[in-house]
């Protein structure tokens, strides 16, 4: 049986399509066709792959921890639940939006720092990003189900977790006469 690879779920064609849609929509479609569809499309695409991204992070940590692991449906479901919950809170609850703005600003800071180094401009300080807290974005929430659908087959329960040695049981003869033959009788 082929061993699963940590974060392999991100190589699923569905995930690659979702990432491509996100990039295309953010960098091109929103500017050319601003409106309801392009406004929601990035949320749909992001929610469709983000749970698998979280699961990939957990798998990488597990694989580095040298623990035996296998792709887990439980982890996938928890990741989908966490994604949906955080998304809903950020869009509807001011403290969560604020936390998101600060957190995203901090995550974005290394990229901004790198860009400033490349341009020779002074290093920027981490800044809170602006956020569109639009509750109608919650319409995109069901797309976390797409992530579950994409990851479900890969996360089928396995009897042998990756990293553990497989033990081959001796094959027993089915008929009694075979057993006698084995014993030399």
């Amino acid at each position: 049986m082929r061993r699963p690879v940590a974060a392999e779920g991100l190589l699923h064609p569905g995930v690659l399509v979702a990432v491509a849609v996100l990039v295309f929509n953010d960098h091109f479609a929103k500017a050319h066709w601003p409106g309801l569809v392009t406004g929601k499309l990035s949320d749909v695409a992001g929610l469709a792959f983000f749970p698998l991204f979280l699961q990939a992070g957990v798998e990488l940590l597990q694989s580095f921890g040298r623990r035996s692991w296998s792709p887990s449906r439980r982890v996938l479901m928890l990741a989908a639940l966490a994604t949906a919950l955080v998304f809903a809170l950020v869009k509807t609850w001011a403290p969560a939006s604020e936390l998101y703005r600060v957190g995203l600003g901090l995550l974005h800071w290394p990229l901004a720092l790198l860009a400033s180094l490349l341009h020779g401009s002074p290093a920027p300080m981490p800044a809170r990003v602006m956020l569109t807290a639009d509750p109608t974005d919650l319409l995109a929430l069901p797309s976390v189900l797409v992530a579950l659908r994409l990851g479900w087959a890969r996360n089928e329960p396995r009897s042998q977790p990756s990293g553990s040695k497989q033990v081959h049981a001796p094959r027993l003869p089915r008929r009694p006469e075979q057993l006698y033959r084995l014993q030399g009788l």
Binding site: L11, G105, S121, A127, M130
Partner: protein
């Protein structure tokens, strides 16, 4: 065998890193506005002030968050060979003034970055500010100052926001 395991693990790590960077870079946009100009300071009129209006507009974002204004300048003196242009000679009390923040530029060329939090009303956030250049001391020759005012703010892509920087008299 070990090599193959590391190779496969590497594929997963690269996929994870790529997705992380791509989605982070994709969901954020950096709005930028820029104004570039030059001025001449003369011994008769050793100072000049430029006024700007920075306007952030978004149909969906009620506030502009924290942005930055970056001022870069380069001052050159004609026939500066014997004029001895030094750090203390120019812009000793010049700089950019934004509300109660004051930036003093002590060098003949440099960059200064200032955080700003524009006041907002009905999805329009406006920050007025002025940049004052002055030279001190007795100078005999005009000084050319080239400057760039650059404003930027980071936001999520869905906001459809614009940032504009206008120079007014």
């Amino acid at each position: 065998m070990k090599r193959a395991i590391w190779l496969r693990r590497g594929v997963g790590m690269v996929a994870f890193g790529l997705v992380a960077v791509v989605s982070l870079a994709s969901c954020l946009a950096v709005l930028e506005a820029r104004h570039e100009d030059r001025m001449s300071l003369t011994p008769d009129r050793p100072w000049d002030t430029r006024r700007f209006s920075l306007r952030f507009h978004s149909p969906s974002v009620p506030d502009a968050g924290l942005g930055t204004i970056r001022l870069s300048w380069l001052a050159t003196e004609s026939s500066a060979v014997d004029a001895g242009l030094d750090d203390a000679g120019l812009l000793a009390d010049g700089g950019a003034f934004i509300d109660d923040l004051q930036v003093t530029a002590n060098f003949t060329n440099g960059t200064q970055e200032i955080p700003l939090l524009p006041g907002c009303s009905s999805n329009d956030c406006i920050q007025l500010f002025e940049v004052e250049f002055s030279m001190t001391g007795q100078r005999l020759r005009p000084v050319e100052v080239q400057y760039v005012v650059h404003a930027e703010s980071t936001l999520d892509k869905g906001s459809g926001a614009t940032l504009s920087l206008t120079n007014y008299p």
